[in-house]
């Protein structure tokens, strides 16, 4: 029952988070730093709104020359780092140079100018990526300072961090007094913390979303965004290998993986980008094998997954004269990846393809999970290609048709077999208000407030 006079946000209180990750640092340039947490402390020049469109953050406006190779970003006045230093163009330029050594970044008064070797029409969107956060580094680059709504008060690498409200935050002091983060908590520990009232917000693994809801917990989910894919270590070396890879793609029953292993926590896919970003992913779902150049499974009805079709897989496999034996690498510490890898192995075996599971890095193909880094479709595809070690996509004039063509080219390289897009989710106590999960799976805490707390 809501108590009275609670509809206006309350100031005060400590939000307690429990998360699975165990980052050594919140430095946004470091690999593996959760974007949702890093953004509490560090900010970018540009932010993306709910539709993936660039909006001002530390930059209030920007301009480009006609060739999109030289950009000017005008900085917000009156912003200070947590250590008290004002946000100036020299610090911004140094930060951007550190995260993008290939850029020429020039500080000039109230703006920074960025020059790139080739046209970068997506530069404002690139600057919204977490790795492009503006960081002030002092004391031999060990001490980091940001401009975000919270400042790092205390940190025990990989175990615990305490953030306190930035009283001088340019966009208004956050409602919360502080945020306490417990790292390295597994799914069970997180759920226990929530149930015992020791945590206010926890992550929920995709396979546990259904159960968490059934047990009447408050769960917020993202769109399906985290890609699970098979990635080959090299390009196919023969027509035989192309057929074998297509047969493997068709053999995997991704609908069963989603329903049984993930308990509906994802969506089967044949595309790299999820449909909510591209609008056309279902074309690859229906003709994923088509994209891989296979005639065997052409022309399924639109929207009908072509995966798990053992007849098509066997037909495709028959066209390969020499069937390879592949090793499938996976991260054994990731339970859900291990279970999916075992399913892939069984499906492949049913279609006559031999896979051997391996936990070493030297495998023929790997089962990977890759989080979306941007809700902008062009940047998201480029970042996925980079992570999958595929050639950079060529998106032409930027139209959706061009994006489709670029993604099709990536899939036709036969290097990656997309399997699923998984949702991300958090569970929270009823005292937590205004926690927003963005479509790309990151969550925003800057407007969160707690009820039932004393000011």
């Amino acid at each position: 029952m809501p108590s009275l006079a609670e509809s206006r946000p309350h100031y005060g209180g400590t939000l307690r988070l429990a998360v699975k990750e165990a980052p050594e640092t919140l430095d946004p340039v470091a690999a593996g730093v959760p974007a949702s947490l890093s953004r509490l402390v560090f900010e970018t020049l540009v932010a993306l709104d709910d539709r993936g469109r660039p909006q001002p953050l530390l930059a209030t406006s920007w301009q480009s020359d006609p060739g999109s190779q030289r950009w000017r970003f005008f900085l917000r006045a009156g912003v200070s780092f947590h250590d008290g230093a004002p946000l100036d163009s020299a610090t911004v330029a140094a930060s951007l140079r550190n995260s993008n050594p290939e850029w020429k970044v020039i500080d000039a008064g109230d703006m920074v100018m960025i020059e790139t070797e080739s046209a970068t029409p997506d530069l404002p969107v690139d600057l919204a990526l977490t790795r492009n956060s503006i960081v002030r580094r002092s004391d031999s680059a060990v001490k980091l300072s940001g401009t975000g709504p919270f400042a790092i008060a205390q940190g025990d690498a990989g175990k615990h961090a305490t953030l306190t409200a930035n009283e001088q935050y340019w966009a208004g002091r956050p409602f919360l007094d502080s945020v306490q983060i417990d790292f390295a908590k597994n799914d069970h520990e997180q759920m226990l913390s929530l149930d015992l009232g020791k945590a206010d917000v926890i992550e929920v693994a995709p396979e546990n979303i259904h159960r968490a809801r059934a047990e009447n917990r408050i769960v917020i989910t993202s769109e399906p965004e985290e890609l699970i894919a098979l990635v080959f270590a090299h390009d196919p070396r023969s027509e035989d290998e192309i057929h074998a890879r297509a047969a493997l793609a068709m053999s995997i029953d991704t609908a069963a993986v989603n329903n049984v292993v993930l308990q509906g926590g994802g969506e089967p896919t044949g595309a790299l980008l999820p449909n909510w970003i591209s609008g056309y992913a279902f074309v690859f779902n229906a003709a994923g094998s088509n994209a891989a150049g296979s005639p065997a499974a052409a022309n399924p009805a639109a929207g009908t997954p072509a995966f798990g079709n053992m007849n098509h897989a066997r037909q495709e496999r028959m066209q390969s004269k020499h069937l390879p034996v592949w090793t499938l690498g996976y991260d054994p510490s990731d339970t859900i990846v291990r279970i999916i890898a075992e399913r892939v192995l069984l499906n492949a075996r049913d279609s006559g393809i031999t896979l051997n599971l391996s936990s070493t890095a030297n495998s023929d193909l790997h089962l990977v999970r890759i989080r979306l880094t941007s809700s902008d479709q062009h940047v998201a595809l480029a970042e996925l290609a980079k992570t999958l070690q595929l050639p950079p996509p060529r998106i032409g004039d930027g139209s959706t048709a061009d994006l489709y063509s670029a993604e099709k080219v990536l899939l036709q390289s036969h290097r990656a077999i997309p399997l699923l897009h998984m949702r991300r989710a958090v569970a929270l106590r009823p005292t937590v208000h205004e926690l927003r999960m963005l479509p790309d799976g990151s969550w925003s805490l800057s407007n969160v407030w707690l009820s039932g707390e004393k000011q």
Binding site: M1, P2, S3, L4, A5, E6, S7, R8, P9, H10, Y11, R51, G52, R53, P54, Q55, S61, Q63, S64, P66, G78, D122, P124, V125, E167, Q168, W170, A171, G172, R173, F175, N275, W276, I277, S278, G279, Y280, F282, V283, A286, A287, A298, N299, A301, A302, G303, S375, H378, D397, S399, T400, A401, Y404, H433, E434, P439, N447, S451, G452, Q455
Partner: protein, 428 residues
């Protein structure tokens, strides 16, 4: 030099238009509200239909370029937020556009090719995908995309019988308070976080003038609150956390803003009670000037409503402790059983002897509703229907004259802040 609004035109919507421009939706009296909504819906549908025709023609052209003149089977599947009736209209429009391009649509057994069109959508666009199947060849894909509107227009529910809501203005930026200046022409002041905008009422609409900027020398708190008080010796004062802006008497109208912790008037000036607002928070500290009778302070509170009685005024405070506090100059009574929201406003319906308090429903994640109550024997009794809003209230203040209140809510579907005038009418 390129203006910022031009820089993204290649592939993104113009940024400046998103975060700089105002988008006032000007609506007036309650009866006109419905007509305005109808017209808006009608116009928007005409506009969308017009857009569909262009997109239909684009897709038909692409399909025809692949199939050439001839006979095709057309299957349209809708997996977007477009309504089924619109999707059917698109199917018909696409058939007509194909005919214009020399491609006739027939049953599959008479067709040389099958065209499967899927109406899909991404974050920013409606995406229409045609998969063209000719014989046993691989399907060829043609795609067109057209921007999705930021939000669909969603009409408010009909005005209730006694509690009337008159739409004033809607915009993407927060509105903190609104004050109407009666006269010819009618004018309206809208207080935002960074400006006061003067609107003029002409031809049944409120038209915005040039905003008068408010410059801040320190950050505003979150959940910013503000109030406009109309004055007799000058036009108005605007109260913001830690700041007061006084309008100039010169023309054009200007503002003199300065840091100030001066107390804000409660209810209206006529009551002569002010309260200090916490400059870095979203509530009043509780310190009252000069006080209510012998009581010089109340618990920290979000809002207050005064209900004048024969010999005293009963003040109701929505405390930050989640409770209602009733002060009458001597006694302090805490009401723990009333589930109201944090915004209250006192009003006086002309046909009633007692004053009323407008209160909103409590709760989070659901839309608010407003209802009028009277406090007979210090127990609230509902005296109006509950007026359901399409979002959460962000501001509720008593208007000058005490016969109405201005309310602002954030439309949960459009994201716009919508200001309205709430009045209580009798016998309806």
């Amino acid at each position: 030099m390129t203006h910022e609004s031009e820089l993204i035109t290649g592939r993104c919507p113009p940024v400046a238009a998103v975060y700089n421009a105002r988008n006032p939706e000007m609506l007036c009296s309650s009866s006109r509200v419905r007509w305005a909504w109808c017209l808006l819906i009608l116009f928007s549908q005409v506009a969308i239909a017009s857009d569909w025709r262009r997109t239909e023609a684009q897709l038909a052209e692409k399909i025809a370029a692949i199939t050439g003149p001839g006979v095709v089977a057309l299957v349209v599947t809708n997996r977007s937020s477009i309504s089924p009736s619109e999707a059917e209209g698109i199917r018909r429009g696409l058939s007509a556009s194909l005919s214009d391009s020399g491609v006739r649509v027939f049953e599959p057994d008479q067709a040389a090719a099958t065209v499967r069109v899927t109406l899909s959508e991404s974050l920013q666009n409606y995406v229409w995908v045609a998969e063209i199947q000719q014989g046993t060849n691989d399907a060829i894909v043609a795609i067109v995309a057209t921007p999705r509107p930021d939000s669909a227009i969603n009409p408010q529910s009909s005005p209730p019988l006694t509690l009337h809501a008159t739409q004033l203005v809607a915009q993407p930026e927060p509105i903190l308070d609104v004050a109407i200046l009666e006269g010819t022409p009618r004018r309206m002041l809208a207080l935002g976080e960074n400006a006061v905008t003067v609107y003029e009422f002409k031809d049944g609409h409120w038209f915005p003038g040039q905003p008068i900027a408010i410059n801040h020398d320190r950050p505003l708190p979150r959940d910013v609150r503000g109030r406009i008080i109309l004055r007799k010796d000058h036009l108005f004062d605007a109260y913001l956390p830690g700041m007061i802006c006084r309008s100039t008497n010169a023309s054009p109208l200007g503002l003199n803003c300065s840091r100030s912790d001066d107390p804000w008037p409660l209810q209206t000036e006529d009551f002569g009670v002010s309260a200090f607002f916490a400059s870095a928070r979203n509530f009043f500290t509780g310190a009252l000037v000069p006080g209510i009778g012998q009581q010089k302070s109340a618990p920290a509170f979000y809002s207050a409503a005064a209900l004048p009685r024969a010999k005293y005024a009963l003040w109701i405070f929505a405390g930050i402790d989640g409770q209602l506090h009733l002060l009458d100059g001597i006694n302090h009574q805490v009401e723990a059983k009333i589930h109201w929201g944090s915004d209250l406003a006192g009003v006086h319906a002309p046909c009633r002897q007692d004053w009323q308090v407008l209160a909103i429903s409590a709760g989070s994640g659901t839309d608010d509703s407003v209802q009028a109550f009277e406090f007979a024997d210090r127990e609230p009794a509902a005296v109006s229907q509950s007026l359901q809003l399409n979002g959460n209230i962000t501001a509720l203040w008593t208007a000058r004259g005490d016969d109405s209140a201005t309310a602002v809510f954030r439309n949960s579907e459009t994201g716009n802040y919508e200001a309205m005038q709430l009045t209580l009418a009798c016998g309806q």
